[in-house]
Subunit: 132 residues, 2 copies
Amino acid sequence: MITIETSGFIPIYEQIKKGIKSEISLGVIKANEALPSIRDLAAELVVNPNTVARAYRELEHEGFICTRKGKASFVSENSSSLIQKDKVRLMEDVFDRAISEARKFGLDAAEIRRIVESRLKNQENRGEGEGR
Amino acid sequence: MITIETSGFIPIYEQIKKGIKSEISLGVIKANEALPSIRDLAAELVVNPNTVARAYRELEHEGFICTRKGKASFVSENSSSLIQKDKVRLMEDVFDRAISEARKFGLDAAEIRRIVESRLKNQENRGEGEGR
DNA sequence: ATCGCTGTATTAGTAATTTAATACAGTAAG
DNA sequence: CTTACTGTATTAAATTACTAATACAGCGAT
């Protein structure tokens, strides 16, 4: 289930893209399976169909899904390996950003490790599947 | 030195706010010292003065700096303790986001620790003071 | 062919960010 | 007082993301 954060600065179509990648990565949607239709997903997320369409269009352009007009959008055959590479890059990026932000505030490696540990524990206690 | 990322999704005034907080936190600007003038900083960052003014206005509203019209904006007397609290909150937020993103892709705590370690090492090797 | 679903495309409107050009007001030095 | 610097305020324009309404085109079942 994809969750949308309207309060942040991250565009909805980016959140949708990341959400789809996540679901492919987790095997919630498998290769050659159909994604939800643009209109359905838009209704579910309470978002404009065009916003979902943009996410799908970009995912197609990046090779993760392929689209057959009139039928549906499908997870690409080779999505697994693509996602795998993308996942590594994505995660490196995410933590690089977090760490360099911490560095900007003068935290050293030890303090960063401490925070990560504390947040890992904190999130474990608040139930597994909850995004927020 | 504050760096602005125009390619991202984060508003410039937010980046400036974070940059100032960082410099206060690091002691680059100390309590009761004057910040660069709005026009100077705008020229340095190649940004509109209004954008810097907005950052200053919000920082003042949050209590980090105080402004004397006709003179300059100064770092607040009690900025240290304020920043300290804000820093903790900010860092928790940053790593919460990173971790919950990782969780969305099915990474467990061990894998997250491994990535954090690898990125910490990676950034050490690429010189200390570099943001990117 | 018609109906109902799919994705696609176009156009227009709203909201937020940023830019731009000004004008105003306080401070300090000449 | 004049000059030159501070921050502040206002208004308009440009840009971008998102929303909204609508039309078009492909696919498949009836």
